[in-house]
């Protein structure tokens, strides 16, 4: 290879931005921040001037104070960890179950044909109807909430795993076939990595679903947890504390989601722009 050819080779390089980085310019972040300030200001001002009653929407500053005092109470940490562990265990188990079931449905025609109608029928049922049942079966403790979180969160992982594995480019499969690769090699080296972005999107959805599952379980019947606190303060009309709990739950959900997104970008670096 002579010099000129080498130079041509270099010029052929697509000079796109490096993979894995997609946050917009600082201007967008500044915009988001400005919007946050405006929203918080409205939250503060509207109740104060009487546009909305303070009992319906306490001003932001009062919620902030309520949040601060709530976090410092001696019972808060216990309730917080109860809900957090329900979410964590439910999410982890739901993801594993969804992934395994999705793989089975994708690789076995028999399993798919026989069980898929049931899977779809099960998904058509609004899962909340099971909440009282789970309380009856598993009691007021954490188990019923974990089960609820699993039942709600496994499905997006299942369906995304199945769809992702079924939509591997035909040519990649043909390449592996021409190399006489085993089914496991095709799965391990081609299908699974190809499906990973879609599977991961399902996992992200599963996290938000797990939060819903745990809280729904706690609403229906619990002696502790953030859902229990939310219910309690609602009955006591301590709306500032209700909002404080909501803010904490929103923070938990958002934090988990961004963590997952960060992991996803590291894991699926080759198409960071498309997730």
């Amino acid at each position: 290879m002579n010099r000129t050819r080498e130079r041509v080779g270099k010029a052929e390089l697509v000079t796109s931005r490096p993979p894995g980085r997609r946050s917009g310019p600082w201007r967008y972040r500044l915009g988001s921040f400005a919007l946050l300030i405006v929203l918080l200001a409205l939250w503060e001002v509207l109740p104060r001037v009487g546009v909305v009653a303070e009992i319906i929407l306490p001003p932001f500053s009062e919620v902030a104070v309520a949040l601060w005092t709530l976090v410092q109470t001696d019972f808060f940490l216990e309730h917080f960890t109860v809900t957090l562990s329900e979410i964590g265990i439910g999410f982890a188990l739901g993801t594993v179950i969804g992934f395994v079931a999705g793989v089975l449905l994708a690789i076995s025609t028999v399993v798919n044909r026989v069980t898929y109608p049931f899977v779809v029928a099960f998904q058509a049922v609004p899962k909340i109807v099971f909440a009282p049942l789970f309380i009856a079966w598993f009691g007021f403790g954490q188990t019923s909430k974990v089960v609820m979180a699993i039942v709600i969160s496994f499905f997006p992982v299942l369906i995304n795993t199945k769809v992702g594995l079924e939509n591997v480019p035909e040519e990649s499969i043909r390449l592996m076939r021409s190399l006489r690769a085993t089914r496991f090699q095709v799965f391990r080296k081609v299908s699974l990595p190809h499906a990973l972005p879609i599977i991961f999107a399902g996992v992200q959805t599963a996290l938000t679903f797990a939060v819903i599952g745990a809280l729904v379980g706690e609403f229906v019947g619990a002696a502790s947890g953030m859902g229990y606190l939310l219910n309690l303060y609602n009955f006591q009309l301590r709306i500032d504390r209700v909002f404080a709990v909501i803010v904490i739950l929103a923070a938990v959900g958002a934090f988990g989601y961004f963590i997952l997104e960060w992991i996803g970008r590291k894991l699926i670096f080759w198409r960071a722009d498309e997730i």
């Binding site: 796109s16 021409s178 990595p193 670096f269 080759w270 198409r271």
Partner: protein, 268 residues
């Protein structure tokens, strides 16, 4: 072993033992409007070290034939012999290069080239060395650690070429490998392919609908016509080796191109 670049005389393509024998192969597909005969009674032999092109318009069954030779598709009747053994499934002695590069986007250039060796198992150190040599040969030595999305279409196809070269198959099948590239890149890739196959004395079956490309690269051009897909004629390309782009301005070259055109035109 990947041999170094050297020139060969035309005699090297003289009668050698056949690598592939296609014997009376017919392939019928069940279509929406009844059966379609994609290939009808095709006989072709490709000998060791020979570069044979299959050229013809869309629907002449040239890609179907290649898939049958690869063992990816079964013939409806007739048979294909690889070194005298009937082909019933894909063989690791046969390399396949597709129209698309079919690279795995999460693997670097080197790891893509190593894929066949990984699937086969065996000595990692030796296969890594072979992969590096193959990447070198296609001129991508600087891009060993690049990912496919960082490369242009032409470079990606070179990676695909290196992937085939690295595991040294006895026969390489190419299904319009440069069909999706622009004209300039395509010409550069053809020169590259000629250099590489000529140096390594590779046995190649090459499918294309570009007559000039077929004549430039080949020892023999198999001209195929559609409905049903049949061999309309076989042309021996007697052009000197090594060849470069100036061959295309020779009288002999244009005579051969016209000869192919005549055979294709005779069917219509």
């Amino acid at each position: 072993m990947l041999p170094s670049v050297s020139s060969q005389s035309t005699e090297r393509r003289s009668e050698r033992s056949p690598v592939i024998e296609v014997l009376g192969v017919t392939r019928v597909f069940a279509g929406a409007t009844g059966e379609v005969t994609a290939l009808h009674d095709v006989d072709v032999t490709i000998s060791e070290g020979e570069f044979v092109s299959f050229v013809g318009p869309s629907g002449c069954g040239k890609s179907t034939l290649l898939n049958i030779i690869a063992g990816l598709l079964a013939p409806s009747s007739g048979s294909v012999l690889l070194h005298g053994q009937e082909v019933r499934e894909p063989s690791r002695k046969v390399g396949f290069m597709f129209q698309a590069p079919v690279l795995l986007p999460w693997r670097t250039v080197e790891r893509n080239v190593l894929l066949p060796a990984e699937v086969f198992g065996g000595d990692k150190l030796a296969s890594t060395e072979k992969a590096r040599a193959a990447i070198d040969l296609v001129g991508l030595a600087e891009f060993t650690r690049s990912f496919p999305h960082q490369l242009s279409g032409g470079m990606q196809q070179r990676v695909a070429l290196a992937r085939v070269l690295a595991y040294e198959p006895e026969l390489v099948l190419m299904d319009e490998p440069f069909g999706s590239l622009d004209e300039f890149t395509r010409e550069a890739m053809n020169l590259e392919l000629f250099r590489v196959t000529d140096a390594a004395r590779m046995t190649v079956a090459f499918v294309t609908h570009n007559i000039g490309e077929a004549v430039f690269l080949s020892d023999r051009v198999v001209v195929m016509t559609p409905r049903p897909g049949e061999v309309a004629g076989v042309i021996d390309v007697g052009l000197e080796r090594p060849r470069d782009i100036s061959v295309m301005h020779d009288r002999a070259f244009s005579d051969l191109v016209f000869e192919v055109r005549d055979i294709l035109g005779g069917k219509r």
